[in-house]
């Protein structure tokens, strides 16, 4: 299943940018669903053009930064546009569900298909512990009120006639925070949600949206404020061109200062390597990384017992924002990455004012007709290391610490947070011991940040682009050995 931001969602973001810079933002915002599905247009996805437009309207509401759940259908998009301009700060809880798109997907259940042969042995009936299977007209039928979805019957049927009808958002949420309620719509429980964005990327209907902060940023750009844009290492694999060209393109959008967050990643590497040495020396068996925003929320909400084994080192975003604030104290700091969890992290960091995702940055480039290939390949000051730039690829963080550290590092990589990897982490926390290595790297997204919910490029392309950059980057300096340090 593709994890990239779908075409429709990206098109809407571009249309919002265009509407914003038009002569009448409110009117153009109201017209977005009609421009996308004009009278007589083909109806590619839904039952009729009216439903298509209604769903597009909901997507625009999220694009303007509001919760779709709060919409009572009487408020027009022009009113939403007006409200978005007046909004003082972005809404909390960065995710919202588009109910009308979501209803197309049936609730999770176990289903007997017509491959059922009505056999004599009836292993499904005998394995079911809940008495949920009956034979009707010679075929097995499941009573959904009794079925506990244990899947025993699926394994028992020799004809593979029984299947589990999946609900991708539920199946991919590592912490059971999203669930279809009685009316068939998925609902997010924000007490449990770790904003990892897995539901966003796994829903084939694109029904889970980020509440965008695009309007906040557009307002600042229009007012020509002093702005600092910090771009995560994963952003590099999402656009064509060199880093120098990408930086010029960002400045052309209107960002005054541009920082590579890989610069902050270098600070993370140094601190984390030192911390690992100290902890191992003190006799601790293992340490986990702490740079994934989704993982950090996961430990806080669901596995506090592992926090003592988690590194206290801050994230690359934290250090970059600190550096940027020191160098440009009056500028407003904006962070961009393919990750929605960073929005939550930014709410807790006074040095980060707003967060964009890569699709929204892409929409700015398209809306303002900026061609990266035609931008000047500007010189890079304070060039980050190869290791810092490799942070967004699964395994990259652990490798970086291993390269820098002055002790034996044996990495163990958790590539994607899911029920299996959570079981592993629980085991490590309970035993205070990890048999798989002494540095456990945890990334919520499959493949690392390059598998984030708002990525543009697939993993393969992103990896290739990042590799080109790495080949021309310098190694981070290694830590001094103890003997050298005492000599000086």
């Amino acid at each position: 299943m593709s994890t990239n931001s779908i075409h429709l969602k990206k098109e809407i973001l571009v249309r919002i940018v265009k509407a914003f810079f038009s002569e009448n933002f409110e009117k153009q915002a109201r017209l977005i669903p009609y421009d996308m599905r004009p009278k007589g247009a083909e109806v590619p996805f839904r039952c009729c053009i009216y439903k298509e437009r209604a769903i597009l309207k909901d997507r625009v509401i999220a694009g303007l930064g509001f919760a779709i759940e709060d919409d009572d259908e009487t408020v027009s998009l022009s009113e939403y546009a007006e409200k978005s301009l007046e909004r003082k700060e972005p809404e909390k809880n960065p995710l919202t569900v588009l109910g009308a798109a979501c209803k197309a997907c049936v609730p999770k259940r176990i289903h007997v298909t017509d491959l059922c042969q009505g056999c004599v042995a009836r292993p499904c009936v005998s394995t079911c512990k809940f008495g949920a299977i009956e034979i009707v007209n010679g075929h097995s039928v499941i009573d959904s009120t009794k079925c506990k979805a244990c899947k025993m019957c699926i394994n028992a049927c020799p004809y593979n006639a029984i299947v589990k009808v999946a609900v991708p958002c539920e199946d991919n949420c590592p912490v059971n925070a999203i669930e279809k309620n009685e009316d068939g719509t998925a609902k997010i429980d924000f007490d449990k949600c770790i904003s990892c964005g897995r539901c966003v990327s796994k829903c084939p209907f694109g029904a889970v949206h980020e509440k965008s902060q695009l309007i906040e940023v557009l307002k600042l750009l229009k007012a020509e404020k002093e702005l600092t844009l910090m771009f995560a290492p994963a952003v590099v694999g999402q656009f064509p061109g060199t880093i120098g060209q990408l930086k010029s393109a960002m400045k052309k959008v209107g960002f005054t200062h541009v920082y590579e967050v890989a610069q902050g990643a270098d600070v993370t590497i140094k601190n984390e390597a030192k911390e690992l040495e100290e902890r191992l020396e003190e006799g601790q068996d293992f340490m986990t990384t702490s740079c994934c925003a989704g993982y950090n929320q996961f430990t806080k909400k669901h596995l506090p017992e592992i926090e003592q084994y988690k590194s206290d080192t801050k994230t690359p975003m934290y250090y970059t924002a600190e550096i940027a604030k020191k160098e440009h104290p009056n500028a407003i700091n904006i962070f961009v990455s393919p990750c929605v969890a960073k929005k939550q992290e930014a709410f807790e960091n006074e040095n980060v004012d707003y967060v964009l995702n890569t699709a929204e940055l892409g929409a700015l480039f398209i809306g303002l007709q900026i061609e990266i290939a035609n931008c000047e390949d500007e010189e890079i000051e304070n060039e980050p290391s190869k290791q810092g730039r490799n942070f967004p690829v699964s395994g990259g963080v652990a490798e970086a610490v291993k390269f820098r550290a002055n002790c034996e590092v044996c990495p163990s990589v958790i590539n994607g947070l899911n029920k299996d990897s959570i079981r592993l982490l629980k085991k490590y926390a309970q035993n205070g011991k990890c048999d798989d290595g002494n540095l456990v790297e945890v990334m919520c997204c499959d493949g690392g940040c390059i598998g984030g919910n708002a990525t543009i490029a697939d993993e393969r392309t992103a990896k290739k682009l990042i590799k080109t950059i790495l080949d021309n980057s310098k190694d981070i300096e290694k830590e001094e050995t103890k003997e050298n340090a005492t000599k000086q």
């Binding site: 593709s2 075409h7 996308m36 999402q238 064509p240 398209i366 061609e371 990266i372 490029a457 392309t461």
Partner: protein
């Protein structure tokens, strides 16, 4: 046999709207058609700049035929159509 020349637009608009995921075309398609097909990534072909046309990106050119909202399947289908014409 007829030669087919495929140009994948790698301009910013096309890249963001999806040509970043057409890398497979460049990697796999020439092999599949035994060198009757040549695929290359191109700088902006200029098809996105007229008003509203960004929504039809990514663009791929198969000889003179422009494929809109290009996907791997759509492009392969067009290649096959052109190869079978003769």
């Amino acid at each position: 046999m007829k030669k087919v020349d495929v140009k994948v637009c790698m301009g910013t608009t096309c890249f963001v709207m999806g040509s970043s995921n057409l890398q497979k075309l460049i990697d796999v398609v020439p092999r599949k058609f035994k060198d009757n097909v040549e695929v290359s990534g191109m700088a902006c072909l200029g098809m996105c700049s007229s008003s509203g046309e960004y929504s039809k990106a990514p663009y791929v050119k198969v000889n003179d035929v422009v494929v809109q909202e290009a996907t791997i399947d759509k492009v392969v289908e067009e290649i096959e159509r052109q190869l079978n014409e003769h």
